[in-house]
Symmetry: C2
Subunit: 224 residues, 2 copies
């Protein structure tokens, strides 16, 4: 219930928690009900120190000398990461990236998270009514209504970079609590709205760089 952190959590920790959760789910399916920081570290390919430190940001979930109960730790991680609920989403900007994102069925049925698309928006009249995954593209003016009626949590911005701030303002006004920005620009939004930046092709760009510079090894990872 009560989260401990007064300090800020490394972003990388959050990514790793998702990994631990995936491992725990898999252990559970195999009928294994106890594990240890060593075993989790082995699977996640990080150090056991790292596993324990990551968990320590949120509380104490193990028993000294014993390890962790798979079921308990799995539940705790689900709670911390927000997986006991569905996340309602909208896409603003139905260009090529928005369409690809709407068409991508994976995130709806990811075995961990439950993200659900509730609306698709654009300002281009020629796109109105276009059907994608059972939703029809609506005008941005209808965004607020959609957000209120469906209890939309987050919006994905996939408009051209020069329109990104407008889209963020519209999402703010509509009342979403978080924005995932695919446009390569930093958004200015009010403090109570979470913003995460996504560079869709960052992986390819880094890869191109490291192929070109084989003597440089990527030591920092995840990121994405």
């Amino acid at each position: 219930m009560s989260q401990k952190p007064l300090l800020s959590i490394p972003n990388a920790t959050i990514s790793r928690l998702v990994t631990y959760l995936r491992i725990l789910t898999s252990l559970e399916q195999k009928g294994i009900n106890r594990t240890s920081s060593d075993a989790l570290a082995e699977e996640a390919q990080v150090s056991a120190f790292q596993v324990r430190k990551d968990l320590a940001y949120f509380g104490r979930f193990g028993t000294r000398g014993m390890g962790y109960t798979v079921l308990t730790l799995r539940r705790e991680l689900q709670r911390i990461l927000g997986l006991n609920r569905r996340w309602n989403c909208v896409i603003v900007g139905m260009g090529r990236l928005g369409q690809a994102l709407a068409d991508y069925p994976g995130y709806m049925e990811s075995n961990l998270y439950e993200f659900e698309l509730k609306g698709l928006f654009d300002i281009d009249p020629s796109k109105m009514g276009m059907q994608l995954r059972g939703l029809s593209v609506q005008h941005i003016n209808d965004l607020e209504h959609c957000v209120r009626t469906h209890g939309v949590d987050m919006g994905f911005i996939t408009v051209p970079v020069e329109k990104a701030q407008d889209a963020a303002d519209a999402l703010t006004k509509a009342g979403v609590r978080g924005i995932l920005n695919f446009a390569p620009t930093a958004l200015k939004v009010s403090d109570d709205i979470a913003v995460e930046q996504v560079d869709f092709m960052a992986g390819m760009k880094r890869l191109a760089f490291y192929i070109l510079n084989p003597h440089l090894k990527a030591l920092t990872d995840q990121e994405e």
Copy 2:
């Protein structure tokens, strides 16, 4: 020509270099031919120190008291990032993510990078011959031939997690120089092959976490 770095470069620096390049390209289009670390920093929303430090990893491109020549710096960054060439790519695994990736037209015509798909591969016989973006899905056995004849640089792994290592082995044998791994597992490959990990939905997961924990602010960014 000669790259300076003996030290390892922060991964975040590479992402920022791409940002600087985008800004320089835009300045050039506007006919502006001189700029400064201050101006670049303003646009990129980082500090001027950061801009200069990032550039310093690769050499000296400015003139003290004067700033940078847009044209020169743009060219240098293009060279460093590998944008004077085309990157030939293949996708291994034509499930939902592989299909979405093949269908996504954006990375082919990105105004900075030139990535081109040269082949689509799977092991499932029922997928063979399936058409996507002018390419037909081939059996993984034909991967090596494709890589040799087209000079393929990198492969994207979009197979289920338990098949990811096999896909990596096949790509290694076929002779690619880099692998972009979308499966949530760490691959073991020979040292001379660059591997970058991509978590397609990491942004959404982080966002869910920060919406749930509004008192925690994301301070580390980009990554992606």
